[in-house]
Amino acid sequence: MRKLRHWGPGLLLLSPSLILLAIFVYGLIAWTTKVSVSDEHNALGSKGFVGLENYTKLFTEDINDRFTHSLKNLALFTIVFLVGAMFFGLLWAFILERGVKAEGFFRTVYLFPMAVSFVASGVVWRWLMNPNKGENAGGLNAVLGGLGLDFAQSTWWTNPNWGMASMAIPAIWQLAGYVMALFLAGFRGIPAELREAAAMDGASTYRLYRNVIFPQLTPVALSALIILGHMSMKMFDLIMSVSGPQWLTEVPAIYVWQTLLTSDYAKAAAISIILLLLVAVVIVPYLIYTNRQEKNA
């Protein structure tokens, strides 16, 4: 009774959100899993259980290896996006941390793109990354042409091999400022005593950053990577507005949508579950890690 009094009110307060989560998140995940092992390939509905067939087919029998192609696209996009956003984020944070004049102004300038939706910026970037070259050039290529840098003109996202790297540019532009904000908070969170102690020990500026400051930033870097990583895996709106749904730039999230539109529910569900697992692979270790950190603290 006493015990109940101890945790009862808490549970009661939590119950609405628990119930909603149970139904709308975990219940629907369970439902999607069920559909993904059925043969509900059209509006007719399911006739039965097919085990993992939908999953294996995605890897072995998909026309033109469409699914593995979309995974490759996603991998290239994610790598370029993460490296780019982390690099610029850290660079900007570092510069601001070193004490630039008008820090508040630059902070706002760098952070502002994050306030724009992917759909809106995607439409602009679609125009900027116009693949025409030479006399027909538009967007960035026209700028490059005007500067006499014709050799630097690119086919951008329409390049069959490196197109997805171009697709990552708007994403980097949009989120590098966010990474900067995270790192800047990290820099500011390092106690002044540590710097002073390093100075007392006669450490050079390089040694100070290399051995004292950067190690302290590891948790921040990890958080930034996880946040960007899971956003990247689920990337949909940016690509939809830059290229529209098509083979060249297809990623799993867009493939799900395309499959759903053709009423192939089982296949769409299978791709969704694979996507969920991919994101989970990134997030679950992070959650375990932070959980441990908090317990230790």
Binding site: A43, I63, N64
Partner: protein
């Protein structure tokens, strides 16, 4: 958010309680409202209702104007019934289709909905979601009014499920007259060799990409036209009903011809939609574009008059059609009203009201050409006498799943130019989707 672990829940319990309670209350209220909305929708048209909810993706432009014309006719023909607009805008029908799919699954269909006539209906037919209206076709005299080729394409195992409101033609090449005159081209080509010779002539005048094209589905349209040329209308239709093998050497020839044509097209094709390609023709940066005949209405609307058209070279007297049609869903609230709507759609007056404003032609062969603009008059004459074949890019030849697979395969071909891979992909798609 997963990333912001909730801390400090222990403090400020009272505050927390009220806030939580408020959140919960709002949540529950939201759920209830959603439920209430749902049920009020259902009650809107109980049995004995006189409302006809017409579900379309015609929300603006010429399509909306056409729908308005149809509604006006419906008002006179079906006194006592009221029209209710159930249009869902956006995504060239993609949004509407997903809303429709969930309504059909929940068993709350609209009284009638728009769908591309032909194979795209097959999913609904298989699922038993639409009613057979063959008997009404006889009663309304539609079997005589529509050309036999269309009736054949519409019939699934002896039954007809939809009434087409309009007809568009897919295999038409649009030209910029001035560019052609500059290149000294005076006659329309009648076969592929002639077409390629003309493309070379235009190219020699310094126009690098004389044939304008856009992304995947527009490429599929061009490819289908090449298929008609190389296979002929009968074998082409057979590709979609399983009687022609996709591994046929003639298909290989068609893919190679298509590959040759692609060398005359703009390299940024995957970045363009059909209107962007149309602009290349209007600006004189290209001479030709293959596109459906909605291009005529669009060019007219953009006040570009210096255009001409011809049937895709080698297609002879083949009319590749696509159509919007209406159906009677199973479990419709007001089947009587729906039937009156369908009757209006199929009637001479209804087809006139719709098509003169939308820029398409009537499916009926008894319409008066004088009511229509110049291009439509020519198309109406062809419609009566030509052979009708369906289009996959626009759903009259293949189901939505097949269409998606074909678009994706053409998209891959656009970058890789791999002939055997395209043939294999299309053959696999056919084996997956034919007769399903």
């Amino acid at each position: 958010m997963v990333f912001s672990p909730v801390k400090g829940g222990g403090r400020g319990g009272r505050m927390g309680l009220t806030r939580r309670a408020a959140v919960a209350a709002v949540g529950v209220a939201a759920l209830l409202t959603a439920g209430a909305c749902g049920s009020s929708d259902d009650n809107g048209g109980g049995s004995g209702s006189t409302k006809v909810e017409v579900f379309t993706w015609w929300a603006d432009g010429g399509e909306k104007a056409g729908l308005d014309g149809l509604v006006k006719q419906f008002g006179t023909d079906c006194a006592g019934q009221t029209f209710e607009n159930g249009a869902v805008a956006g995504g060239a029908g993609a949004n509407a289709k997903s809303v429709l799919a969930s309504r059909l699954q929940q068993g709350t269909p609209p009284d009638t909905f728009q769908a591309h006539a032909g194979a795209e209906l097959s999913d609904y037919i298989l699922a038993g979601q639409v009613e057979d209206i063959s008997a009404d076709y006889d009663a309304w005299g539609l079997k005589q009014a529509f050309p036999q080729g269309l009736i054949d394409n519409l019939t699934v195992e002896g039954k007809i499920y939809s009434v087409p409101a309009n007809i568009h033609r897919a295999n038409v090449v649009w030209t910029n007259k001035k560019v052609l005159a500059d290149a000294g081209i005076t006659k329309d080509p009648t076969d592929l060799a002639g077409f390629i010779a003309d493309l070379d002539k235009v190219k020699a005048k310094g126009i690098k990409a004389p044939l304008a094209i856009g992304k995947d589905w527009t490429q599929l349209m061009l490819f289908e036209s090449v298929l008609i040329t190389d296979l002929g209308p009968e074998k082409f239709t057979g590709l979609w009903n399983g009687t022609t093998d996709w591994n046929d050497p003639l298909v290989t020839k068609a893919i190679n011809d298509f590959k040759t044509l692609l060398t005359y097209t703009n390299t940024d094709r995957d970045a363009l939609d059909w209107t962007d390609a149309e602009k290349l023709v209007m600006d004189g940066k290209a001479a030709y574009q293959l596109m459906g005949d909605w291009e005529a209405a669009d060019l007219d609307a953009k006040k570009f008059t210096d255009y001409a058209w011809f049937t895709f070279p080698g297609n002879g007297d083949t009319f590749q059609w696509l159509a919007d049609s209406f159906v009677l869903p199973k479990g419709a609230n007001n089947p009587e009203g729906t039937k009156c709507w369908l009757k209006t759609v199929g009637s001479a007056a209804g087809q006139k009201a719709f098509n003169t404003t939308k820029g398409s032609i009537p499916a009926r062969t008894d319409a008066a050409p004088a009511d229509y603009p110049k291009y439509q008059q020519a198309a109406m004459a062809d419609w009566k006498s030509f052979k009708q074949v369906p289009s996959c890019a626009h759903g009259s030849a293949c189901s939505q799943g097949w269409q998606g697979a074909a678009n994706s395969a053409l998209g891959a071909f656009s970058t890789k130019q791999d002939v055997p891979a395209l043939q294999k992909a299309l053959a696999t798609a056919a084996s997956q989707f034919v007769k399903k």
